[in-house]
């Protein structure tokens, strides 16, 4: 037999002014198992709480119904109050007599009837309540950052500066990402490498940061506070503990292959650092091109290395470690436009290049030392066409979204061409110019003042005639088909999620949108969190954005991590799903609809008559479950149920309304 107490709050006149609270209390007293029913002027006040505590003791109550304001207001207050009484804090139900009754109705009779119904529903529900206990999970104060671009770098520095351990996993041999490839950044035109390389050095030297380059995450388990992560570091064939980065090996290596960093415009050696300011500033051997590793002969690097760092027998290593939080900062790649845009030559013309390739051509440390030269013949282009939205805003061939940064970097490219090549002409084909950012519109103005010709229209075809690349478009403002003869064409290609990000998101159990960008928990209010607790995101893995936005997001993610790490352990809500394994038939329908991938099918030992058998049933990971209850409605047997909102509780509530 339960012993229920009901307290009906006047809330001054807020409730009592409309609802006959005494009648509600009197009705409550008539209900079975209700052993105590009173009204109270201000239940939430100190004296109000004291009265309740006394009554709980006096009447040996084991559950409590408070008819007051919205539970969203004081549920937490009353649960805290119950903490030091004989009643479990979850043996409490609140009937909302203020926001959803007294404040919205004027007819006192009807409002009182409704209040009685609400009270009865709460009493019916509380009767089904069971004591629940919060548990705590420890927080391992170590943060994993996946991706070593500017987002990962910024987040790592912020978290490490706050005093927590950080590991950066980067699949390339150096951190730096795309930003370090860029020449200048809009709209201020400061040198990209000059502002990003110092940060890279900071990362390399920070006592709290462990750098894992040439590495990838291969497995993730666990949940917020303690993710078990396995990281695989590819064989580098160079012992970085001994190597001083003298670079002698690179000068002697006989094998030359196109440099990825320079977009294939010049060569690197088989033992190489991707670029001069690489961090770590130590080379690795590319096994796909090294003669020694492929054919078993050469070994020049090993011979010249003064410290004997070269180890051709090096193998991949796996490390498993526990992290309390993860920041995903995997960045972007450019859409493979060659496969999609046959009308732009499909990659047949060397002088039709992407914006990123242009960045290397205009970069003083690039293959042309900053001289803008045509890749085909090394001459200076006179007429340059820039085509925007190649792959963006094109659901037919590419992506439907806007890639956000292109308008600005195209303006920057135009400016750079006009500055570096006097007498050159730049034509920019655009649909809309989008410049929402500080100083962006001004920069666009300046580019037009520099002489860039903006043509509103999309280019339909690029073909070669008389040695020129003819770009056929429409000037939609004139309403006429037009063509521009170009020496070089720069395509502002769409950003797409980094190659292989799907594998990672599946491993992490985080959602992606249809374009495979990582899905944030809420587009406005939780922009750097994912649906999974403890996993945050930063930068372009979430969607196209420019450097300022990326850095801001990275710092925001870092703050989230620091907030999590500021406590030693985390309390988890007990109002989560649980499985009655006796009832569960293992159909797995709940597994499909869980947004947190918190449910899995497991095999348990069971008895079937006299036999011991294996049985497959659902199991809820309490670290991942957020308590939405979607699974419960998918379960036909009612085997999976949500604590605090059980089937029985809700059905009793429904019944109570109608009696």
């Amino acid at each position: 037999m339960s012993r229920i107490g009901v307290v009906v709050c006047h809330c001054g006149t807020n409730i009592a002014g409309v609802v006959d609270v005494e009648r509600v209390a009197a009705e409550a007293a008539k209900l079975p198992n209700v052993v105590f029913a009173v009204t109270n002027k201000y239940t939430c006040s100190e004296p109000g709480q004291a009265t309740m505590k006394a009554a709980i003791e006096e009447h040996q109550l084991d559950r409590l119904v408070i008819c007051s304001c919205s539970p969203r207001m004081h549920e937490a207050t009353f649960r805290r109050m119950l903490k030091d009484t004989r009643i479990n804090p979850y043996m409490l139900e609140i009937a909302n007599l203020r926001e959803q009754c007294a404040w919205v109705h004027t007819d006192k009779e009807k409002a009182t009837e409704k209040a009685i119904d609400l009270m009865r529903m709460a009493v019916a529900k509380v009767e089904q309540n069971k004591p629940l206990f919060t548990s705590t999970i420890p927080i391992h104060k170590k943060c994993l950052i996946i991706g070593g671009g500017i987002a990962g770098i910024q987040a790592a520095l912020d978290v490490a500066d706050a005093g927590y351990q950080v590991t950066i996993v980067e699949r390339e041999p150096s951190i730096g990402g795309h930003m370090v490839m860029l020449d200048k950044t809009f709209p201020t035109l400061d040198c990209s490498a000059c502002i990003s390389t110092p940060k890279m050095v900071d990362v390399g030297q920070h006592p709290n940061i462990t750098l894992m380059t040439s590495s990838e995450v291969v497995n993730v388990g666990g949940y917020v506070g303690s993710f078990e992560v396995t990281i695989k570091q590819k064989a580098r064939y160079v012992d970085h503990t001994k190597c001083t980065g003298c670079g002698l090996c690179e000068t002697k290596c006989p094998t030359k292959v196109p440099s990825e960093f320079n977009q294939g415009y010049n060569k690197r050696t088989a033992i190489y650092k991707p670029f001069a300011q690489a961090v770590p500033a130590k080379p690795v051997i590319d096994p796909d091109s090294c003669k020694m590793l492929k054919e078993g002969k050469c070994g020049v690097c090993a011979k010249v290395c003064p410290l004997g760092c070269i180890d051709f027998k090096d193998t991949a290593k796996e490390y498993t470690e526990t992290y309390g939080a993860i920041i995903v900062a995997t960045g972007y790649d450019l859409i493979p436009w060659q496969d999609l845009y046959g009308e732009y030559g499909g990659g047949r013309y060397a002088d039709v290049i992407t914006g990123l390739q242009f960045e290397r051509l205009v970069n003083a440390s690039g293959p042309t030392e900053g001289h803008i030269l045509r890749p085909s013949d090394g001459t200076e282009p006179k007429d340059v066409v820039i085509i925007k939205c190649v792959g963006s805003r094109d659901p037919h061939k590419g992506k439907s979204y806007c890639s956000r940064a292109c308008c600005m970097y195209s303006a920057k490219h135009a400016h750079q061409i006009l500055e570096k090549l006097p007498g050159a002409n730049v034509y920019i084909f655009y649909m809309d110019v989008r410049t929402p950012g500080k100083g962006y519109e001004e920069f666009y103005d300046r580019t037009r003042a520099d002489g860039a010709v903006y043509i509103r229209g999309r280019v339909s075809k690029i073909y070669k005639e008389n040695g020129k690349l003819v770009c056929k478009g429409e000037d939609t403002l004139l309403g006429k088909p037009v063509s521009v003869q170009a020496d070089m064409v720069v395509l502002a290609t769409a950003m797409v999620p980094a190659v292989g990000v799907e594998k990672l998101t599946t491993m992490l159990g985080i959602a992606t949108d249809p374009d495979k960008w990582v899905q944030e928990a809420h587009p406005k209010l939780r922009p750097v969190e994912t649906q999974t607790g403890g996993i945050f995101l930063a930068g372009t893995c979430q969607g196209p954005k420019d450097i300022p936005d990326t850095v801001a997001q990275a710092s925001a993610a870092a703050v989230k991590v620091c907030g999590l790490f500021s406590k030693d352990e985390m309390e988890t809500s007990p109002m989560i799903s649980g499985v009655d394994q006796q009832k569960c038939c293992g159909c797995g329908f709940c597994v499909n609809c869980c947004p947190y991938k918190a449910i899995s099918l497991v095999e348990i030992d069971a008895r079937e008559g006299a036999r011991r058998v294996k049985k497959t049933v659902a199991s809820v990971n309490s670290g991942l479950c957020q308590g939405c209850g979607c699974c419960t409605a998918a379960c036909r047997t009612g085997a999976i149920d949500l604590s605090g909102y059980t089937n029985a509780q809700i059905l009793k509530e429904v019944d109570a309304l109608c009696l």
Binding site: H396, M431, V459, K472, E474, T476, P481, V482
Partner: protein, 187 residues
């Protein structure tokens, strides 16, 4: 006088044409890739992009009176490259039929040739290139068009005097008449 955009008298026709072509007019953001790739745009008075624009605004008058709908070569370059796969050839075709139904013919020779072609098929069940060209030249009064090639063709027996036919040309004639009887879907 500036154009007043409140009048959208052609909206109904435009929407019905768009619906039949399976086009969502609102999707077009006027990038002009259609015009840019259109082989006939240089001869058109209304760019393919503008056709969609006028339809968006519910103004069919300009379209029905245009040459463009008659000049479309149905090469489908526009729709193939359109970011939203807007089926402009169908819009062109249906607009042309709507124009024809209202007695408006932007390019008379095009209309004539189509008529002669179908007359030809109706008569023989198969088309007959030389005969068609001949009748066309007589009808339009352009007696010499393409005539320089005739001797070559005759010499090499690339044109016969006897038109080839199907077994029963009447059958094809009946077929065409049945199709025409059912009428266009547009009233």
């Amino acid at each position: 006088m500036e154009e007043c955009l409140n009048a959208r008298s052609g909206a109904e026709l435009a929407n019905s044409i768009a619906a039949r072509a399976g086009v969502k007019l609102h999707e077009c953001y006027q990038c002009g890739k259609c015009t840019a790739g259109c082989p006939m745009a240089h001869a058109m008075d209304l760019m393919p992009r503008q056709l969609v624009r006028y339809m968006q605004l519910g103004r069919m008058e300009e379209i029905l009176g245009s040459k463009s709908v008659w000049l479309c070569a149905s090469c489908h370059t526009c729709v193939e490259r359109c970011p939203h796969s807007i089926d402009i050839p169908s819009l062109m075709e249906l607009s042309r039929q709507a124009a024809k139904a209202r007695g408006r013919v932007g390019v008379k020779t095009v209309d004539m040739f189509s008529g002669i072609f179908m007359q030809n098929v109706k008569m023989f069940g198969k088309s007959h290139e030389a005969l068609m060209e001949g009748v066309y030249n007589v009808t339009t009064g352009r007696f010499m068009q393409d005539m320089e090639n005739v001797p070559h063709m005759l010499k090499n027996k690339m044109v016969g005097i006897e038109p080839h036919t199907t077994n029963n040309p009447e059958e094809i004639k009946a077929l065409i008449e049945r199709a025409l009887e059912m009428g266009g879907e547009d009233a």
